[in-house]
């Protein structure tokens, strides 16, 4: 078999002896109306003819490899010599780290020179004789086939699988049961989130806390045309569950002129024109806060879903499926803005059981 993988008669040394392999010209006959012209005659490179040119190529390749060596030495030298925080000005890159620049340049040069040297070597000095390698037959020889069949039959007989039924049946049982362990592990994809997707930290009486100042907001703090982000009272940044909670509870607060609010429920759920909406896009849950105060539109940076905050945060453009959930707000006895309950629908992207 292996002798067929390396057709030795096709190796260059053999073929040179074989009356210049390219000359295998056939003549036209009935089956092949056009004569096979064979390969064109081999053309020599200047390096094959002129030894001085070959020497020049050799020197060029050696120079490239030497340059690569120098660049590697340069890489190590820069790593040792240049402090990591040295900033240098290099046009047109600007103020960049000198170490990064030196490491990148020397490493790039070292690799490039190895590649360029190898390519130049192969193109100008290595043998470029054309070789035609004929395919051998794909089918195996008849005696090989017969041998394999005989081997298989003998193996089946020696295993006595047909005779000893107990072994056969228990083996089938073992092989059938084994994949079950893989299926059981899929249980770890759960458990299902239960009602976690439907509820957030907001509840009746929770104050709206400004994320910039960590202070609860008063209606007078929120000017018309301003944009404020809020989190529920009691949720601190160092809490272990801060990220999971803020991912659902993040709130964006804007103030509109009450007469500009078109949606009746939105007006009802606002306080003196102050409206609070979920900051989580209902498409795939990006934080959405590109608020345009003149048009009252808020744009999601991920897929350009656009919501009209003056009209119940209706979707006016983009792939989002439903309006941003609004949080009903009011003021407490001390004059601070407070939530009047949780969101009445799940925030963020839709899911199967959302309804």
């Amino acid at each position: 078999m292996s002798s067929q993988d390396i057709p030795e008669e096709n190796l260059p040394a053999e073929r040179a002896a074989d009356e210049h392999a390219h000359g295998a010209v056939s003549v036209a006959d009935e089956k092949h109306p056009f004569a096979d012209p064979g390969l064109p005659p081999h053309e020599h490179r200047i390096q094959d003819i002129d030894e001085r040119a070959a020497k020049r190529s050799e020197r060029t390749v050696a120079l490239l490899f030497t340059l690569s060596m120098l660049a590697t030495v340069g890489f190590i030298a820069s790593f040792v010599a240049i402090p990591a925080d040295r900033i240098v000005y290099i046009f047109p890159l600007g103020h960049i780290s000198g170490l990064n620049f030196a490491l990148g340049m020397t490493l790039g040069l070292a690799l490039f020179c190895i590649g360029a040297g190898a390519v130049h070597w192969a193109r100008t000095l290595m043998s470029d004789e054309e070789i035609a390698d004929e395919r051998h037959a794909i089918a195996a020889e008849p005696e090989v086939k017969a041998q394999v069949l005989a081997d298989f039959k003998q193996g089946a007989k020696e295993s006595a699988l047909g005779r000893r039924k107990l072994i056969r049946n228990t083996m089938f049982g073992a092989l059938t049961l084994f994949p079950l362990s893989g299926i059981v592990l899929l249980r770890d994809l759960g458990p299902l989130p239960e009602d976690k997707l439907r509820h957030t930290r907001w509840s009746r009486g929770k104050l709206l806390v400004n994320v910039n100042t960590d202070e609860p907001l008063r209606p007078s703090d929120v000017a018309v045309g301003s944009l404020t982000f809020a989190k529920p009272e009691g949720l601190e940044e160092h809490d272990h569950d801060f990220q999971t909670e803020i991912a659902k509870a993040a709130l964006l607060i804007v103030r509109l002129q009450p007469e500009n609010i078109k949606d009746k429920r939105e007006l009802e759920w606002s306080h003196e024109g102050i409206v609070a909406y979920s900051k989580i896009c209902t498409h795939v849950g990006c934080p959405i806060s590109l608020y345009e105060q003149q048009t009252h539109h808020v744009l999601c940076p991920c897929h350009q879903s656009t919501f009209d905050l003056a009209d119940g945060a209706r979707v006016i453009f983009g792939p989002a499926g439903h309006a941003l959930p609004q949080l009903r707000i009011g003021v407490n006895d001390e004059g601070y803005l407070q939530a009047l309950g949780d969101f009445d629908e799940p925030v963020g992207p839709a899911f199967w059981e959302r309804g």
Partner: protein, 269 residues
């Protein structure tokens, strides 16, 4: 004869005369202009308002109405405050050149003294935020890390993480904050120009604003350090990926084609 007249009127004579005339005009202007400015600085507040009203009638009234009441072409100006005027006129956005999705930044055509007069007039229409004092927006000694956090919470959604700007809806865009005067950044946060929401002191304190300005000063000025080099606009993975695909892969393909296309044979075909 012909030669003599040609020498009397050298071909460059007209140019020289023109240059002299220009120099004389410029000289006369510089001689008189400071006097105007000095006068403006010494007049009482009411006089500044009067001057501002005159400037307003010429440059602003066609869109904002003769009394700042606004029209279909421009919003009402009562209550926008001196800070809004200083920002809009001081960055060249106002007076607007043409209607459109957004009024762009352009060459400033008023002197600071004239801008102050305009601001005084508009401030007299209704109470609003005043022009900030230097110590309010001077970034010296501010908390840069805190500023970065505040910037990413409040500003980065539109202006990009390092203030390179970004696109909004229907042709509007958030401008780059590169080399914007700290005073103008402060005023923009306070007044919310055009479609930008405002961030009044009640929700973003004076110190918060100062921190944000200090952060921008570090990450987004002419001599900001960028250890990686070649920021490609600082726009993030999209521009970097595009650059890698087009120039990185394109370069490799070009080299491969070049290597294969050049024949090494002695006899070129």
């Amino acid at each position: 004869m012909k030669k003599l007249s040609a020498r009397r009127r050298h071909p460059l004579a007209a140019v020289v005369v023109l240059l002299l005339a220009l120099a004389a005009t410029g000289g006369l202007y510089t001689a008189f202009a400071p006097a105007d400015k000095a006068q403006a600085e010494t007049v009482a507040q009411s006089l500044a308002i009067d001057e501002g009203k005159k400037l307003y009638a010429v440059g602003c009234a066609s869109c904002h109405g003769t009394g700042g009441e606004g029209s279909t072409d421009g919003p009402a100006l009562a209550g926008v405050g001196a800070a809004a005027v200083d920002f809009q006129v001081g960055t060249g956005r106002m007076p607007a050149q043409q209607p459109g999705a957004q009024v762009p930044k352009k060459k400033v055509i008023y002197s600071q003294a004239q801008i102050d007069q305009l601001a005084a007039f508009v401030a007299s229409l209704g109470a609003g935020p005043g022009v900030p004092a230097k110590e309010q927006y001077n970034p010296e000694g501010a908390d840069i890390a805190e500023g970065g956090e505040l910037f990413r919470t409040n500003c980065a959604q539109c202006h990009n993480f390092t203030g390179k700007g970004g696109a909004l809806t229907n042709g509007k865009s958030a401008p780059t904050l590169e080399d914007v005067d700290p005073k103008h950044i402060y005023e923009a946060m306070q007044t919310g120009p055009q479609n930008m929401p405002s961030f009044p002191d009640t929700t973003l304190t004076e110190k918060n604003k100062k921190d944000i300005i200090a952060y921008l000063d570090v990450v987004n000025s002419d001599d900001s350090e960028s250890p990686g080099g070649l920021e490609l606009g600082g726009l993030g993975p999209v521009s970097e990926g595009l650059f890698g695909w087009i120039f990185g892969l394109g370069g490799l393909i070009a080299v491969a084609v070049w290597v294969a296309a050049r024949t090494a044979k002695a006899k070129k075909s």
